[in-house]
Subunit: 302 residues, 2 copies
């Protein structure tokens, strides 16, 4: 993602990340939790990363509301952005567990269960998920908006979990090849991106057609994100990724390059990038931050 | 708990359990989830048990609203009751994991990770938690009530997780003896009971003083529940419990009988039972279902 703030329209990316991290840190610190649990939540919630989902929340808000240029984010928007990041952090902590992906490193740091222990990683993952809902309910004054945001967050989480099951505990239900791959990714990666865009839109008071445009955009970007990810897994090396490479390919997993070849997958990135732009047409010029985000994600490195 | 419906005031206990189980089953079945995930959610969500928390939701509602005598439960109340049961089921699934309590049996049945596998148990636990929030948001029409219920559910879950950390991953923070034991149980067991009573009250439109009375009642019953549990662990045998007995005592865990002796703990049950009745005084005659529930829980067997 582009972090050159001079090219941003709307809230500068670095300010966005600072606000997200500060809110997450303050909320956990003030919640009244056992110290070791709070430490574990912060270790994971504030880990290195590009804050793609909170960024999508804010850019989707801006695409409906207009650019956020100065001052702190509206409280409900900040809560939505932090909430979805907490859900993302929860998913990483549990995915890394020995019974799941069994990863020792994430972005060059020990995973939480290596940093602490497995019991704490299970409980801290649970805690990040439950805190995300609490944070939203405590930081949104408009009940209708608050309930809508909680609903989006819950549905995104449930769809993500379904995607994880489709991916790692597959049953033979007749869905194969590219259809199976798309089903996995529309849920596993796509659900939180879709939820991010919809939550941002809802905070801006988007109408049904705007929510629909944001949803289609996010679904498209979500698939593109995953094709790029698959391509990066092939082309990057362990040192730059902080985790084992080509792990998916070696494990015989479905990937876009595996199904369409590297060139086919690269062409698919371009097709999806164009489709993302098309999805934004109903939102007009205000959607420029989302156009830039799609373009950034199409060429991102890990 | 007393399941003799002839002695019930308000909704018969067996009808209550039927409605709770049916709603949970229908919601999971219609959610559109991978079949194996749905099966895992139902295995745990519909496992044997007395549905203490949903019962407390409904009896707290009745204590404010008056007895529910005929017809199905109001939709919001049913959602609150099923939601808290899902959170309880999630906590059992994760507590049983090898990295936590490592239990193979629960109430005579294989625990979920023995019935399926550890990855599915992690994901299904996560799923029960996230679905509980989704179910509440989708089944409560009044946004202010819905948001309040989600807030209660989230806070109860977070406090419960904190209690689990205080219990199983304790740090030396100077809190010792009975104070430490009460802190553990006010969170670990107490939080969901407190949340149940408050959610039931909120569904009935309880005012602040009624919510306060319900909270005090639930906190008291929650501690009593735990003292009874500790006493049952000493007096029951493996065959009737479906799990290893005296496990806590052997592991050197803090227990009420361990700290106060068996007779001291039995006296504490009576004291807490009286305090629960006292807490209900502001609610008057309508609180009779909660008085009976406290009396039932004081003499319960596993």
């Amino acid at each position: 993602m582009n972090t050159d703030t001079s090219s941003q329209i709307g809230m500068p990316q670095d300010q966005l990340v600072v606000e997200i991290n500060a809110k997450l840190r303050d909320y956990v610190a003030q919640r009244g939790l056992p110290r070791n649990l709070a430490d574990a939540l912060l270790y994971s919630g504030l880990g290195p990363g590009k804050r793609v989902r909170p960024t999508l929340v804010v850019r989707s808000y801006e695409a409906v509301h207009g650019p956020l240029t100065d001052g702190p984010m509206p409280e409900a928007l900040l809560a939505a952005a932090v909430g979805i990041e907490m859900v993302h952090a929860f998913s990483l902590v549990h995915d890394d567990l020995p019974a799941m992906d069994d990863d020792d490193l994430r972005r060059g740091r020990p995973t939480l269960h290596k940093h602490t222990n497995e019991a704490m990683a299970i409980l801290a993952g649970d805690g990040l998920l439950a805190l995300s809902f609490e944070l939203v309910t405590r930081n949104v004054n408009d009940p209708a908006l608050g309930l809508a945001l909680v609903g989006e967050l819950a549905t995104a989480t449930n769809d993500m979990i379904a995607g994880q099951v489709y991916d790692t505990l597959p049953e033979d239900d007749g869905v194969e090849g590219i259809d199976r791959l798309i089903r996995i990714h529309r849920n596993k990666t796509g659900a939180l991106l879709r939820g991010s865009a919809r939550m941002g839109g809802r905070c801006a008071g988007a109408d049904a057609s705007q929510i629909e445009a944001l949803t289609r955009y996010a679904d498209t970007v979500g698939l593109m994100f995953q094709v790029v990810d698959d391509l990066l897994d092939i082309t990057s090396d362990a040192a730059s990724m902080g985790k084992a490479t080509q792990k998916d390919a070696e494990a015989g997993k479905l990937t876009y390059p595996g199904l369409m070849g590297v060139e086919g997958a690269q062409a698919e990135v371009q097709r999806l990038q164009a489709e993302a732009h098309e999805a934004l047409e109903p939102l007009g010029a205000a959607a420029e931050p989302l156009r830039r985000l799609a373009d950034d994600l199409a060429v991102r490195r890990k």
